[in-house]
């Protein structure tokens, strides 16, 4: 739930998603679910020449399991809060 909770705060922010097949997509995160499936809007592919078929795609739904990385802007994350949240999560699972 932590990551779900975390990604929910990124909704409407611009993120870059790197997939496990090396495609890198930049777009506005529209929604996320508990599987961390992502919905991106206004996407642009970092390597248009390699994946020209993506140039005609505006928005995309990405299955969570295919995501390798999500690149974030540093200021989108409240690291102290995230630490607390992580600790709470660990605490609750320990109980």
């Amino acid at each position: 739930m932590l990551f779900f909770s975390f990604f929910k705060t990124l909704v409407d922010q611009e993120v870059t998603v790197e997939l496990k097949n090396d495609i890198e997509l930049k777009g506005t995160l529209k929604s996320v679910d508990q599987f961390l499936n992502l919905k991106l809007d206004n996407i642009s592919c970092s390597d248009e020449t390699k994946y020209p078929h993506l140039s005609s795609v505006r928005n995309i739904f990405i299955r969570g399991s295919t995501v390798r990385y999500v690149y974030l802007n540093k200021n989108m994350v409240d690291t102290n809060l995230l630490q607390d949240a992580a600790r709470r999560e660990a605490m609750s699972s320990r109980k």
Partner: protein
């Protein structure tokens, strides 16, 4: 009903199969008793007197419609799905038996025709109107089949259909002709029985695989949907349409046409009578062949003679649309089905009322395309009832909602609060409901575009989902898993949002291990304590160990080990989080656990674990939050412990030029952090709540237990001493103004000050770090971090900020007597003049364009120096020291 050739032994079914159950029930019941005479039932069509319930006819069938008009009743595909297969089977059976005794397909045709018309009339039946669907498409199919003009189906499809029909043959046990009509495309997927006899030559657009698959879906859909619309009639009415397609057979078509025409000539009122009669026809199964023949005969007659005679526009139209004629009947199903499914299909309603026109090739093709699309869309529509959908929705929602958002959705909740400045705008549930609606692409509000209604509905769903989520842990996991697995994908209550699947399984024995090791250490330490270490000797040992503390690992090991200290920090965090949660929920907070987790008064270790906690950044960062929950007593104890063991403090060691002559960037950052976090706490505590004696106590602890001259070589250490003595001096001044300072306090202050001064005497010059060290710090920090070095306007002109040293000396001098001040000046005379020289040189050596910067630096140097000199009534200005006036 009648058109199928009913099994008379099952009156109930006959009755039900009527299109309008309301009507039929009564009339049917009455007539069932009499043997049926075809002449009575059919030929005299429309000549009957009004019967008992005929006054309902208009209401039932409508009276505003032009007679003989052709309607599109929509595309009946799904209705078949919806219509219970049970009913179909029943009907089918009776049909079959009828067929067996009946002549060729003609008979069926005959039966059909009547109802069809009735239905035509009924077009005005408003409630259904919205449910009729795409006539054109159907029509095209029909046309296609009948005329064989357009090859709408591929060869493969044809073959497949035929194959299916062949297969089903045996099953149905019926002579093919009897079933002629069944091949109608929309119903193609009706239970196998329907197709079985197969009107083989009809190439229908039978959706693949439907015959087999459909029955499964049915049971669910039916029961729920039924109540909505036509109470009883539906199940039985369903089958009715099936025979419709008959017309394709050829003769039937004609018959239909003629029939239509005929009807037109009758007064409208008579039309409604037809349906009731039908049952009779059917009940007379034995006669049916005959009937069929007669039927066949009459149509042909009609065709031959009447249409021309009829001659009016309406009939012409009817004739023109001969092919489509069967369509309406098939589509009669649609309403039923739609009701059952509750699927809004109103969109295509428009086409329904139009009389059919012959289609051009283009139109036809377009319709085909459209039909294909509609097929695709409708293929699985109605598979799930609204209740099913609700269930799924709820189940999905239950995975992401929680009744305890603060704990389970902590980051999001708090982050949003921080972002919005503490205002929580919308309820969590409302948010989820909205997001889910948008996300899932539900057509907002459905047919009526009532988004608010949809939202409300979804919110109630969320409510329910929360309930489900609450119940989740209590349910028997095994059972739940077993029941839902495979139906809704992999569902595991053991692996829900609260407990996601873990890639790494970390054994939880760690705690036990720690207990073992730490208790072992404790044992050892305790025996040592008992043997040798008195409190005072322990303290002595500590101060003499100061330099050994340079090795941080040694310090850590003496306080329980790195692992132990790290786990302590986590414990502290856990306690703090717990307390914060309690605070938020308005409960009383009890800091005793937190206090224990800090291990401040823990004598089991040579170095207090608390000091080691401060060796880690996260340990430092948590301190302000710890202080929120400690009472004054605890804070004092904590600080006492802190000052007592200052020499062991990692930050002192790393910030001392003696032990760490080559500070790294990260160390400088740590220093910065410590200053901004912990020093701040101390200052605020001392200035807000510490009594004079308490400050003295802390100072005493520092002086007594530590190597003060070592501490004074570190920036942090010097800062700490400065804070203590300046605070003490301030309180003393305040108090002396009020003359409240007791002699005991005054004397203890003097005593402590003397101790401190003795410890520093002859070593005061070492508080100034050597040039190499300052140069290094400036160098390291110039890579971008803010450190002890003051950054000038440009990187080139950074220099080591010595203000903290002058602050220390100033506060020392302030509290000391004249002889103390004299000693201080004697010891640091070189530094004073050195500083003045540097300030003066700055002006003379730098190039003209950097005069501004040099001027600033010079002022800064003088400013710092004067901080100290002013205490003694002196001031340094323009290279000379003079008395302050």
């Amino acid at each position: 009903m009648s058109f199928f050739g009913f099994d008379t032994s099952r009156p109930g079914h006959n009755e039900g199969s009527g299109r309008d159950s309301r009507k039929k029930t009564s009339s049917n019941a009455k007539r069932a008793e009499n043997p049926v005479d075809f002449e009575e039932t059919y030929r005299g069509l429309g000549d009957y007197e009004n019967e008992e319930d005929d006054y309902l006819n208009d209401e039932t069938f409508g009276n505003a419609t032009e007679l003989g008009a052709d309607f599109d009743f929509g595309y009946g595909k799904n209705e078949a799905e919806a219509g219970g297969h049970i009913d179909q089977q029943t009907v089918n059976r009776s049909y079959a038996s009828a067929a067996a005794s009946a002549g060729p397909g003609v008979m069926n045709t005959g039966y059909h025709a009547g109802p069809a018309h009735a239905m035509d009339d009924g077009m005005d039946f408003t409630p259904m109107e919205s449910l009729w669907t795409n006539q054109p498409a159907i029509m095209s199919h029909q046309q296609h089949h009948q005329l064989q003009q357009h090859q709408a189906l591929s060869m493969e499809e044809l073959e497949r259909q035929q194959h299916q029909q062949m297969q089903q043959h045996g099953y149905a046990n019926m002579p093919p002709p009897a079933h002629m009509g069944y091949g109608y495309p929309p119903q193609a997927y009706l239970p196998p029985n329907v197709n079985s006899a197969g009107y083989q030559n009809i190439p229908q657009g039978m959706p693949q695989g439907l015959p087999q698959g459909m029955p499964q879906g049915m049971p669910q859909g039916m029961p729920q949907g039924l109540p909505q619309g036509m109470p009883q009639g539906i199940p039985q009415g369903m089958p009715v349409p099936m025979p419709m397609p008959l017309p394709m057979a050829g003769p039937p078509q004609q018959y239909q046409q003629s029939h239509v025409a005929m009807q037109q000539q009758h007064p409208p009122a008579s039309a409604p009578q037809q349906p009731p009669q039908m049952p009779e026809v059917s009940s007379g199964t034995p006669q049916s062949p005959e009937v069929g023949q007669q039927h066949a005969a009459s149509p042909s007659q009609l065709v031959a003679g009447k249409p021309p005679a009829a001659g009016n526009a309406a009939s012409a139209q009817v004739l023109r649309s001969a092919h489509p004629a069967p369509i309406p009947r098939t589509q009669i199903l649609t309403p039923d089905q739609d009701l059952r499914e509750g699927t809004p299909r109103g969109s295509r309603r428009g086409s329904m009322r139009k009389p059919q026109e012959p289609l051009s090739q283009d139109e036809f093709r377009r319709l085909q395309v459209r039909q294909a699309k509609v097929d695709k869309i409708l293929r699985h529509s109605g598979v799930m009832t609204p209740r099913d959908k609700d269930f799924i929705t709820r189940y999905q929602l239950s995975q992401i909602v929680t009744d305890d958002p603060y704990n389970e959705d902590f980051y999001f909740q708090v982050y949003k609060i921080i972002q919005r400045g503490g205002i929580v705008s919308e309820s969590n549930k409302g948010l989820i409901a909205r997001a889910y609606l948008e996300h899932s692409g539900h057509r907002l509000g459905g047919r009526y575009k009532r988004a608010d209604v949809a939202l409300q509905r979804m919110q109630s769903q969320v409510e329910k989902a929360v309930t489900v989520a609450k119940e989740r842990p209590q349910k028997n996991r095994e059972n739940l898993d077993g029941a839902k697995e495979g139906v809704l994908g992999k569902i595991s209550s053991a692996r829900n949002s609260k407990a996601p699947r873990r890639q790494l399984q970390i054994p939880l024995q760690r705690d036990d291990d720690d207990d073992v090791t730490s208790s072992a250490i404790e044992d050892v330490v305790q025996t040592l304590n008992g043997v040798e270490l008195s409190a005072s000797s322990k303290a002595r040992r500590r101060s003499s160990y100061a330099f050994r503390s340079v090795d941080q690992r040694a310090v850590l090991s003496r306080s329980g080990g790195r692992k132990f200290v790290l786990s302590l920090i986590e414990d502290v965090y856990a306690e703090v989080l717990e307390l914060e949660a309690q605070l938020r929920s308005g409960k009383e907070t009890d800091s005793s656990h937190l206090w224990e987790s800090l291990h401040i008064s823990d004598d089991a270790y040579e170095v207090s674990p608390f000091i080691s906690i401060l060796s880690f950044d996260k340990g430092v960062k948590i301190m302000p939050r710890i202080f929120n929950f400690l009472d004054k007593d605890q804070k004092l104890k904590l600080l006492y412990c802190f000052f007592s063991e200052l020499s062991h403090l990692n930050i002192i060691v790393t910030s001392s030029y003696k032990t760490n002559s080559d500070p790294t960037d990260s160390q400088l950052k740590k220093l910065e952090l410590f200053q901004s976090v912990f020093l701040k706490i101390i200052v605020s505590f001392l200035s807000s709540s510490a009594e004079f004696l308490e400050v003295l106590g802390l100072l005493l602890a520092l002086v007594k237990n530590n190597n003060v001259s070592f501490i004074s070589t570190s920036k942090i250490g010097l800062n700490l001493i400065t804070v203590l003595i300046s605070r003490a001096a301030l309180i003393k001044q305040d108090v002396s103004r009020g003359n409240v300072l007791s002699s005991v306090e005054a004397s203890s202050w003097n005593e402590i000050y003397d101790k401190l001064f003795t410890a520093l005497e002859t070593k005061l010059a070492v508080v100034f770090p050597p040039d190499e060290y300052t140069a290094k710090v400036v160098d390291t920090s110039s890579t971008g971090t803010v450190t002890s070095a003051t950054v000038g306007q440009s990187n080139k002109h950074q220099f080591y900020d010595q203000s903290y040293i002058w602050q220390f000396l100033a506060s020392l001098a302030l509290s000391g007597k004249l002889n103390h001040q004299r000693v201080i000046i004697d010891e640091i005379r070189e530094e004073i003049f050195g500083t003045i020289n540097r300030a003066e040189q700055l002006m003379s050596t730098v190039p003209v364009e950097e005069q501004q910067i040099a001027l600033y630096q010079r002022d800064k140097l003088y400013q710092d120096l004067n901080l100290f000199l002013n205490v003694m009534g002196l001031v340094a200005r323009d290279g000379e020291i003079s008395e302050l006036k």
